[in-house]
Assembly symmetry: C2
Homo-oligomer: 208 residues x 2
DNA sequence: TATAGACTGGACCGTACAGTCCACACCCAA
DNA sequence: TTGGGTGTGGACTGTACGGTCCAGTCTATA
């Protein structure tokens, strides 16, 4: 409509395009049309094909980029295990249960059967990476006797599952928004439950 | 094509239609066209509109019916808590992580933003119901001193999350199929981790 | 045998969309 | 000044789809 034909440095349009496409794909899924994406980026439809060979191509590109933004850090060497896990928990939930995270989840999960490579790439860049980092952290904590010795990857899966699990279902399907207020309390409860299961064994082997 | 114009009792076509629609919607999501659904049910397209007012209507109907099939029972009054949880765990995972369960999950999650009522209905009929039953069971076990006293709904959320959580991610995005063989072992490990966190408190209050 | 209801198959309409083509405008560097 | 690279807007093609209409057929029931 009223787009200024001014500068808009060459390569810039590609960026705006990706940005807009990400937004639209998250909002509408693969349904988002090239037309709308282009106009949302303030760009002619032809320009889209100038940068990407097809809609699939654009979608893959965007999804791949988006997948790389899910990493959660576990830094803070000084703190106690519980504090670090708590920070991790909060960051993970904010990222993964936020509107953007949910939208991306929906969009990619829906198309995974048609784009197997994309689905796998997303998983490897996102959840798998997060899992590995957490597992490494837990492994060290186990090494130091701060957690019960056990398979750290399995433990990491459990914690991540608890953090994302049911709340993701709830939001994915639009059930009651679940009061954002108690976000920290929720995370703390979960982390504490995890710690209870992985407390260093005080007793010998009370378990058959 | 080769459809037999024989009997096919009146109301039967509706059943076949729903059946076929479920299959197609799970396979292709909302993308599945009326045309294909009809032909897959061995029925004329007009017949679809004979029973449903629109594609949305058909989709909602199918999703609603499908949602009602997710309940997992916790019967077996005689067994120990661990055994019953284990049976529950296996049943839940089989149902929810099976091809059908995943497909339904994908289809409904993807359309939930456009069909808010449907999303909520699915959640209430499915996960929410399962959660309630499990919570009731856990509450009783707590009452009987077989589990540590705590909020049973929260505990149920944790267990369900652990059972579905990461494995669902893996399969949803098409990562390595995860050897079906160790299905029981996996379930057992998770249940045991849960029981460890909810073991009746042997010690007083070692936790601040 | 007559009548009503359900199903068929195919024509038809309007729309949305992916992707292509082209004539023109702009900007930058040679 | 000139020419190539990039973007523009709009026309165009082909396809898929949702939804409607209808003429005809079959079946069961009265």
């Amino acid at each position: 409509m009223e787009l200024p034909p001014i500068d808009a440095n060459a390569a810039d349009s590609r960026q705006r395009l990706i940005q807009a496409a990400a937004e639209m794909f998250m909002k509408e899924g693969y349904r988002a049309s090239i037309e709308r994406i282009a106009s949302c980026a303030g760009v002619a439809r032809q320009t889209v094909y100038n940068h990407f060979s097809s809609k699939d191509d654009l979608f893959s590109e965007v999804a791949n980029i988006a997948a790389g933004t899910i990493l959660i850090s576990l830094d803070g060497e000084e703190e106690e295990v519980r504090e670090r896990l708590l920070r991790f928990a909060l960051a993970l939930r904010r990222r993964v249960l936020g509107e953007e995270g949910l939208a991306m989840f929906r969009a990619i999960a829906a198309e995974a059967p048609r784009f197997p490579a994309l689905g796998r790439a997303f998983f490897v860049k996102g959840p798998e990476q997060t899992l590995s980092r957490l597992a490494a952290f837990l492994a060290q904590a186990m090494e130091e006797g701060k957690l019960r010795r056990d398979d750290p990857r399995f433990a990491a899966e459990l914690l991540i599952s608890m953090l994302e699990g049911f709340e993701r279902l709830r939001r994915l399907f639009g059930a009651d928004p679940s009061p954002e207020v108690q976000e920290e309390e929720q995370a703390a409860r979960i982390v504490d439950s995890f710690l209870r299961a992985y407390r260093p064994s005080l007793e010998g082997s009370a378990h058959g």
